[in-house]
Symmetry: D3
Subunit: 139 residues, 6 copies
């Protein structure tokens, strides 16, 4: 079993808030991250897949296939976008990086399986100091 | 003459656009950066000051004074904010990183001079691939 | 189960040595790291916690609580300090990064549990080339 | 159990290809990475070992012994070399980073065991965006 | 005058040597960098342009134009290539990073001028420890 | 004229203080950096030299000569040392990074000139947030 991690980046706006709560409640729980006028990040996404190593090629997965899947399913939908307003797979979900990691897992798991490898981890760096990792429900 | 650079970070939302232009015109010139629903960045700000070295202390400037000035004049105003809507010194200015660098220079030049050193350069990394530097009008 | 990692930094002096040993013995085992006049590092600390994701907030832990705990229990005690002489939780322990990681785990495990999440990993980068990780006794 | 990771770097040329295949077939599967005139990388190698912490020294392994083993067994053989033509432990193997990670594992596992610790992970960053990890057959 | 720097990367093979010299002479002057079987790097290229800031747009240059010029004139020619054998603008030139920086300057100066801005600096990081900068003949 | 920068690292202990001042005065001016029990850093040193490009070799300076000079004159004297107590060229000087940069310039200028190139800049990163640059008296 060998693990391959692809790093991609996207820049997006977001805010954390719960619609049923007042601005005061949101501010109390989410602090400045709940700013109604939005803020944003240069998110760094790490997608780790795993698989056995075919003796012939010695590749876990063709890196171009992996890049293509990540671009089509994720980057094109989130880059230079508003995570709360414009991303189909984040609709109705509070735009925390935790929730974003789980949502990206759910978008990528099946296409990657169909491409012949297994999704192992979704990691997102929100800033250089804050990182989220998700290994799926099996964890 | 010795140069001291302080690095600070802030996360903000923005868009590039010219209000008198149509969405189509803005899209043509600014591309996805003109998205009306905003996007954002983890901006990295480098403030470089210069000055002679006092023989006694060997400090260009007290680093805590420098940090304090940058925090009060800039970071508190831009961090977790919308650069187009919420920042007083960016009002009426297209929120490109070039304009942001010039505006930050204008905010910091006087307070730094009053603190005893000379502003030399404002550098902003918008992403790991795009950097703007401004050295003032004298350049 | 989602994992959240917070990165913090501290600058400290230390040396590696065993008091009962002669300077020669210490030099033989610990090399230049046993210099009796000390040396130091810009340590980078990564604290990883894990927990289920509350459906409402989508946060493993409030990041400000996590930062506060790390600051109070660790950073305030080690930053700009001498790890051998001034840190209560390192008293009588050889100041290797391995021992430091275990000691920091012991300081943080209970407060983090009380804050509602589980400590998963303490990672310390001593330099850009040397990293220590500790996952607790259960590992 | 404590984990120690040593980071080393080497610059090497390589190409990916299967000798029995035509240039066209290789190009189709490996893309520009199959260029017969070679290309190269600044590979970053992370060797992670694990072991219990001796109460006296508080060291998983003497870092100089670890560095020495990695240098003698790996770096001296791959740095400023052609991975396909000049590296004994890569002979007859397609020079993918996956295969390289497995081969380095096989070279290091025994010497590290003899030095008193257990190899846990070989990680190689081929570029800042592509990373391979291998944890041995037991995984 | 505002400065904009675009960062791009390319992976290439090369060797340093002077054809008229013997392998021994080349080895003496260029060391392991003269390996006849090649080695390679993940080069990082920084292209800095400068220009006045148009009041309307606040852009030194449209970043997509800049990216396009760098890609067409440089990256497509050097990425996953052998710098000695396959790059037209390096023909007959010893493939040192110094010479590469000057050659890239010569390729980019005119197209950038035609695109409305002035080339200020070509910087290349060969490894994380070795960097070359060239500011043109005027320097 | 081409510029070559070599990056080196050293780990050292230091404190900032003026011997004639009381601990209280030192604390007031230098803050926690004046801790009498020392603290330390992983300093990153960038030495930039410049020179014309010899047509034959295309090298500003042989990189091994440059590394050798920096190692002998600086790194061997400061790495894993106490900057205040053990470094000959820092005797009697307050160990600020500003003073350290000027002192390193003074140590390197002549040997580099004798090696055939001109020292252009000494840059030291004390932490990832604080950087000092010195370009000599001519600046």
């Amino acid at each position: 079993m060998v693990y391959l991690t692809r790093r991609e980046r996207f820049s997006a706006a977001h805010r954390m808030y719960i619609p049923e709560w007042s601005d005061e409640q949101n501010l109390e729980v989410f602090g400045k991250c709940s700013n109604p006028s939005w803020h944003g990040h240069d998110y760094v996404l790490f997608v780790t897949v795993k698989g056995p190593l075919p003796e012939k090629t010695g590749l876990v997965i063709n890196i171009n296939s992996l890049k293509e899947i990540i671009r089509e399913k994720i980057i094109d939908k989130v880059d230079h976008k508003n995570l709360n307003l414009e991303v189909d797979f984040m609709k109705g979900i509070n735009a925390t990086t935790e929730n974003l990691a789980v949502a990206i897992w759910n978008e990528l798991e099946k296409p990657l399986r169909e491409a012949g490898c297994e999704l192992h981890c979704i990691r997102i760096d929100e800033t250089e100091n804050n990182t989220i990792e998700y290994y799926g429900k099996k964890d």
